[in-house]
Amino acid sequence: MTPDVGGEAPDFELLDSTGVAHRLASLVARGPRVLLFYRGHW
């Protein structure tokens, strides 16, 4: 289910394009984060 406003987003860990691992919980620890899902493939 897609997390909705007021709910808790499920945590995840992914590598970025340079190979650095990021956990969602850490990305938002210091302040709000805009998370953009994009189609890619271009």
Binding site: G6, S17, R30, F37, H41
Partner: protein, 138 residues
Amino acid sequence: MAEYGRAYEEIRAAGADVVALSVDTQARSEAVRAQLALPYPVLCDPARTVVRAWDLHNAREMGGIAVPAVFVIGPDRCVRYRSIDSTRDRVATDGVLRFLRGEARGKELGRERVQAGLGEFARAIANAVRRGLRTPHE
């Protein structure tokens, strides 16, 4: 993507930050990040783990890609805003910025038509030729 790169300093000034996510491989994601000079991290989900868990997996196109969407996630992973978008229509970047500044509520953010420019179109074709149309599953 590019719009949030251009608005990045204002987003940072509002106390927020940005991260992007797609199913693209690291090589392709890094090419996009470099081409657009994005100042924020670009996450790679080639196994489609996160897009599936978040129910944002468009299985019908190009071997499975992410549904375009914008979230604002606060500390403790609380979802403050979400917009599930399409290829033609998305939440206005300026609206998200106003939301981050506390100037607008989630339901008041405008929409904008997505129009790929000619340069973007040419780049998409060049990248498809170079890397193929499907992103391999890992």
